[in-house]
Amino acid sequence: MNEALQRLGEYTLLMRKTLSIPTRWSMFFKQLIKEIYKLGADSLWIVIIISIFIGTVIAMQISLNISSPLIPKFTIGYTTREIILLEFSSSIMCLILAGKVGSNIASEIGTMRVTEQIDAMEIMGVNSANFLIFPKILGLMIFIPVLVIFSMFTGILGGIAASYADINGMTPSSFEYGLQYYFNSFYIGYSILKSVVYAFIIASIASYFGYNVKGGALDVGKASTNAVVMSSIMILLADVIMTHLMLT
């Protein structure tokens, strides 16, 4: 408990140091572009591939499990859409990204800490947290929602692909009808909003664990594991809270 409070305190202090006005905007934007590019180049394909497959599998599973003639076939498309839009493309996708991007950030910053690169910045009078962490947080908050939109599209496409496989009488036209059935565009905004929060969680927590590494290369590895575990827990927690606040 004591340790948890101490960590919370350290985290808050680091965020205060991070979220300040950059010394040089030109340098800040350069870093921001770099971060977005890195994230985009690294994660776009994995997001697309995972989304297509999961979309396909969700549609197949549902259609396999709904065999009762009382339930109309368009339910399959409807349910697939709801799962992808509400939970999969935001929450689950961000859990996956927490593993990939979070460990990346933690080990990058952690390595800079143990090789004294952060000290070198501080000694020049540069606010290292602001320079290193702020562009990461903002970059993720800008680009993760874009990835989420990609994931929604490709996930639905995966579902449509499955509908051509003719499992248990599922047809493309019934699937399509289900996709449009009772469509509430608020859900898309809601999902994107969630992903912005998750992006902040991933970037800030991973940075915190990296920034506070003490020791050597081994500790960098530990920090990146801890970062992934902690940000995953926080994403799930935030998911529960936001679902409660916005949908009930």
Partner: protein, 257 residues
């Protein structure tokens, strides 16, 4: 001139620096020597403000570092250059970008001017050819030189070096030592160097303080280091001398085979 007065620093109740007072002179290479674990790095980090002393004063030409406000501190920081034990080059940037980094951050000159200044510093350390390489693509000695170029980019008044020749072969060590020495003279900097290398001590030890287990044992110059009767210092000097001899004999034997 940098002066430290009665510095005490402890970690978790363990005293690492015990009442250290010393003067580091302008235009000279001032050495801090001592065994591994004696507290050299902690002393240097305390002087540059990466660590906060429990008590004591650190005066930069009369300005007390410990009590400075953030704004004044940042001004002073720009007058300091530091060479870290592992070079601490930013590995996501090229050598040139590394040297330009402090200029990008703090100089309002146009890009061309900043680049020119950075290239000038790289030429000073004899490294203009490596400008567009990444730190992972150059040797340890080149990394040290690049780090020196970065440290002097903003024309600092104070230069700090933590074991500038650790991990380098004797010849490269000598080059780095001479480079630091020449730069100190050229720009009239106050240079403070941590080392346990006896070659450096003899070569560039204009003023020397010897630290043992956090206590200042001895102070003097390179001429006095050999003739001193201080027991602890003799142990230190002799140990490294012996070490070198053993190495020499080993080397000769290997050649015979």
């Amino acid at each position: 001139m940098v002066e430290v007065k009665h510095i005490i620093k402890s970690f978790d109740g363990r005293v690492i620096l015990n009442d250290i007072s010393a003067i580091f002179e302008t235009g000279k290479t001032n050495l801090i020597i001592g065994q591994s674990g004696s507290g050299k790095t902690v002393l240097l980090k305390t002087i540059i403000g990466l660590l906060r002393p429990d008590s004591g004063q650190i005066l930069y030409d009369g300005r007390n570092f410990v009590g400075l406000k953030k704004r004044e501190l940042n001004v002073l920081r720009r007058e300091m250059g530091m060479l870290f034990q592992g070079s601490a080059l930013f590995d996501s940037m090229t050598v040139l970008e590394n040297v330009m980094f402090p200029l990008d951050m703090f100089s309002s000159d146009p890009y061309k001017e900043r680049e020119k200044r950075a290239m000038f510093c790289l030429e000073r350390v004899n490294l203009p050819d490596a400008a567009h390489l990444y730190p992972s693509e150059i040797s340890g000695g080149m990394m040290k030189r690049a780090a020196i170029a970065r440290a002097i980019a903003l024309n600092p008044m104070y230069l700090f070096c933590d074991e500038p020749n650790s991990g380098l072969d004797p010849k490269t060590s000598l080059l780095i030592d001479d480079l630091i020495h020449d730069i100190t003279k050229d720009y009239k900097m106050t240079t403070i160097i941590n080392t346990h290398d006896m070659n450096s001590v003899m070569n560039i030890g204009e003023t020397i303080i010897f630290i043992k287990e956090g206590v200042l044992e001895w102070r003097g110059t390179s001429d006095e280091v050999i003739s001193s009767n201080n027991k602890a210092l003799n142990d230190f000097v002799f140990a490294s001398d012996l070490f070198r001899k053993v190495k020499e004999i080993e080397g000769q034997e290997q050649e015979k085979k």
